[in-house]
Each structure stands twice: as C-alpha cells, then as structure tokens.
C-alpha cells in the first residue's frame, strides 16, 4: 500500500483489500521510522488520526462514500491551524508551543472529505518570510529529499514534499507565496499544484503575504493533485479573497497549445535543461509548442516589493517583540528589520504596477493553454551549504514572479533525473482558474512518461 496513488488506495479501500485503519497505521509507522531520518515531521497526530480512521472505516462499512479521499491519510504543513491541543509551530522554535482552538478551513474540508490527518509536517520557519539563505532554517532541522539525504527537500513546504516522496503519506498540503510548493515538488520529484489565488481558502493558515499566499497539494502524480484540489477548493466566508465558485476536477484531454519563454533555459543546470528539452519532445506528441517573449518590465521587483511589504506587516508584532532572535537561521534573526522600512508609497506603487503585470501575463497567454518551464533552475541544493549568492532581487525567476504576482495556477511534475540521481521538474502554468487545463496537460504528460513511477530506493519497504 506504499507508493499507491489516491485512486488506487481508494479502490483498495472500497474493495476491502485494505482499510483506513491499516493505511493510517502504515503512515504512523513510517512517520516514526523515517520522519527523523528526513527531518520532515513536526508532530504526529496519532490520536486524531486513529479516531478519524475509525470513523471512516465505520462509514465505509455502512455504505457511505465521501469520495476518493475517504480514509486516505495526509499530512499538513505546520502552518495550518489544528484544534485539539495539536501544536502549530510555523516552523519556528519561538512558536513551538503555539496552539489554536480551531481548524483551518482546508483541514476542515479534508475532514469532511473523510481523510485522515496523521501529521503536521516540517517547514522553513515562518515560510521563509525572514529571508533565509540556507536549508537549515527550521527548528526541526534541515529537511532532506528522500532521493539523497545530503540534499535539501526544497522549501518552504519542505516536509510536505519530502513525506510524499518517501511514501510516508499519500498526499500533503503545502503553501506557496513564491516557490514554496514548486520548490519541494522539484527537489523531491513529486507533483505539486499551486492553485489560482483565491481558489483555496487561506483561513487558519499562517499569513506571510495576504495577496500572494496560496494553499495546494503535493502528491505522487498530477491526477491526485486534481482529486485533492476538488476537496479543498471553494468559497469560504472566512476568507473574502476566495472565488465564489465550487471547483470540480474535470481534466481536459485534447490537443493543447503551450508556450516557452524565450531564453528560459539560460543559466539553468545542464541536467535541468536537457530533461526539459526531452520533456518538450514528449509534449509535442499532443501539444503545439511555440516560443514567446515577455516585454521588459520589473516583474520580480513588483512581486518582491509586495511580498516584503506584506510580510513586514504580517510579522510586525513578532519583529517588534524581538522574537526573531530565537529563529534557527542566523540571517532570519535580523532579516525583517531592514525591509520593515520600505515606504507605503513604494508598496502601493508595486500594487499599481501589479495590474499592468497581470494584463501583460494575460496578453502573453492569450491563445495558449499553458506556459511551460523547468520547475526550478537546479536540482536539490546540498543540505549543509548556504544558497549561492544571487544578484540583488534578480533571481531569474520570471515564472515565479509573474505566476505568483498575477495569482496564476501552476503544476510541477518530475521530468527526469540528473547524473547524481536527483530529480528535475517541468511546470505547466495556466491562466487564472484554468486548473483543469494545466492538470490535463500534466496528466497526459505523465501518461506518456514513467518518471513519477520511480521512487527512492531507501524508502521502498
């Protein structure tokens, strides 16, 4: 029952081949065995898990079917509020005893879908909002990719990517403000879906940047991401930014038209570029692939200024109380001070430029189903090394800047491996609310490739 997709597990439950209790027991055992090896777990929610599994089992035996997630174990990035005395640490030592009296909307929705919460998973402290510059930026230690324990899982949804890749949980929820779902998707070789901004309620999730934060699933394959998104998407009165419509997973299956940004492979690691070219050849079996060129515009400055301004405000009390001094990464202890001085007029200027950026993105994507690009420019970074020094604010990540700044959905899936055996990824970024299109493109890609069927040897029981 390890490394089975959600559909396979659901079928196995419905046919009586396994039970929610058995699946939960497997996850709990693997959390205990492999959690400390990978540093991917903060809290095992055993009591709640056993109760939910028992309930699911009872319902299924009585003929009640809540859908494909019924009885399936999952893990939550530890920024989602959970009731019942379970800590929600936001990855920070300072907040290791923080508890909430309510569940985040996503946690509630997954409970309504009958799934079983088995763990709160590791994350970069405060979702990277303090400007970390190394993998060791969480009080639970640097999280490893199951493909090589000397390399980083990516972040900030570190444990969510690592635990899925290690077959500890069939799926996990992560969050992305800029790169935090796609980075672990890339480094751990799993599918990661960043939904359209507002598709999923943020209520009960730690706020890093109110107008950039998105919650989404990390799973073994694109199809599973669609199943999970259907369960967590939809309007929520507690989050006014949610879009008003319920979303149903109906992946499109047809010929598609995709675009590649000119020079997108410039500066990318060789294995990343080569695997992307191979993936493009696969896509050409069912896609028209064109090259496009974005006009000059300060995309990265706009999204970074919004992120900096909102993060400074979101953590103002935390910063003013001097709580950053107890964070794990030394640079996170002073990171928030300088950017808290950015002027209101500059933040608002970024918001005014944001509309132009959104319109450019919409114009560029007109006539295309998706823009494709490597999920990340490199494979997983060494776990004990600081990140390379990069040119000020110019991260060369136009996909991340435009995608997050304009609130566009994107899904990352595995595209192959480097010579060292580390995964590389390809992402499919769509127009707002076009999750069924990008899921369709990604699903058809995975029908034609088998990278997602490979799993790290050490974790194959």
């Amino acid at each position: 029952m390890i490394y089975k997709t959600i559909r396979q597990l659901s079928d196995a439950i419905q046919s009586g081949e396994t039970t929610p209790t058995e699946l939960t027991q497997i996850s709990l055992e693997r959390l205990r065995e492999y959690g400390p090896v990978l540093n991917c777990v903060v809290t095992i929610t055993e009591e709640r898990a056993k109760k939910q599994a028992k309930q699911a089992e009872k319902e299924i035996k009585a003929g009640e079917n809540r859908g494909p997630l019924h009885g399936i174990p999952w893990g939550a990035k530890d920024l989602l509020a959970t009731s019942g005395g379970i800590p929600t640490t936001w990855g920070a030592y300072t907040l290791r005893e923080q508890r909430f009296d309510h569940d985040a909307t996503v946690v509630k929705k997954l409970e309504e879908a009958g799934s079983v919460l088995v763990a709160k998973l590791a994350m970069i402290e405060l979702a990277g909002g303090m400007g970390y510059k190394q993998p060791n930026a969480s009080f639970t230690g640097p999280c490893a990719t199951p493909w090589n324990l000397k390399h980083w899982s990516g972040g900030s949804s570190s444990g969510s990517g690592s635990a899925v890749s290690a077959g500890i949980v069939p799926f996990a929820i992560g969050s992305e403000t800029w790169g935090s779902i796609l980075s672990p998707s890339n480094n751990c070789g799993v599918a990661g879906l960043r939904p359209t901004y507002g598709r999923v309620s943020r209520h009960g999730a730690m706020a890093l940047s109110w107008t950039l934060d998105k919650l989404g699933p990390l799973c073994l394959c694109a199809d599973d991401c669609g199943l999970v998104l259907e369960a967590i998407a939809g309007p929520d009165p507690a989050d006014p930014s949610t879009c008003g419509e319920k979303w149903n997973y109906q992946p499109e299956e047809r010929d598609f038209k995709v675009a590649v940004i000119k020079d997108i492979l410039e500066g990318k690691q060789e294995a990343v570029a080569e695997n992307f070219k191979s993936a493009t050849k696969v896509l050409e079996q069912y896609c028209t692939v064109d090259e496009i060129e974005f006009p000059q515009f300060p995309y990265e400055a706009v999204t970074r200024a919004i992120l900096s301004g909102e993060a400074a405000a979101a953590f103002d009390d935390f910063t003013e109380k001097g709580l950053a001094a107890e964070l794990t990464a030394p640079e996170d202890r002073y990171g928030p001070y300088a950017r808290s001085l950015v002027l209101a007029k500059d933040y608002l200027r970024a918001l005014r430029l944001r509309e132009k950026m959104c319109k450019i993105a919409e114009d560029m994507m007109e006539g295309y189903d998706a823009i494709i690009a490597p999920t990340s420019g490199t494979t997983a970074h060494p776990i004990d090394q600081p990140f390379p020094v990069r040119r000020p604010w110019a991260y060369g990540d136009i996909m991340g800047a435009v995608g997050n700044g304009a609130g566009l959905p994107s899904i990352g899936v595995i595209s192959g491996f480097s010579e060292e055996g580390l995964p590389t990824g390809i992402q499919f970024m769509g127009r707002p609310y076009d999750e069924n299109i990008i899921l369709g493109v990604a699903k058809m890609y995975q029908k034609r490739t088998s990278w997602h069927l490979r799993h790290p040897e050490m974790f194959q029981a």
Binding site: G131, T211, P235, P237, P240, G244, F297, P298, A301, V302, R304, A305, S308, G322, A325, E331, R333, Y334, G335, Y337, A338, R339, L341, V342, D346, L348, R349, A350, L351, R352, L353, R354, E355, K356, C358, P392, W393, A394
Partner: protein, 68 residues
C-alpha cells in the same frame, strides 16, 4: 529624496535607531549589505512610469455580513 545612496544611509540609520540595542555589529553589517537589494527593488519600481489613473490592484469591498 532623489539620491538612493542617501536614502540607503537614512534607512540604515533608522534601523540602528529603532533596533540597534538588539543587534550586534555583525548583524548590523549584514543588514547594511541587505539594503542594496532593497534599493534595487525600489529603483526598479520607481523608474517604471505610471499614470495618475493607475490604481492599486486591490479592490476595496464594503462589508455586509449577508452579502459575500
């Protein structure tokens, strides 16, 4: 203020005034260095033209409990 160097110095002075008592010399030096990328972001934003009619891309919605 037109000279970004002057603004950078002003920002650093303000960090020292507000938070200097909780930061050591090494951290202050790192903060001073971190002002360069912040200034680059600000320069990129400020050099991109906007019309008076270009509004912030946040739509304020008056709140009423029974209307979402």
């Amino acid at each position: 203020m037109t000279d970004s160097k002057t603004e950078k110095e002003y920002m650093f002075e303000r960090v020292k005034t507000l938070y200097g008592d909780r930061l050591d010399d090494e951290q202050l030096a790192a903060i001073e260095a971190s002002l360069d990328p912040i200034m680059s972001v600000l320069e990129a934003l400020r050099s991109t033209p906007l019309e008076n009619s270009d509004e912030p891309f946040n739509v304020f919605k008056p709140y009423r409990k029974d209307r979402q």
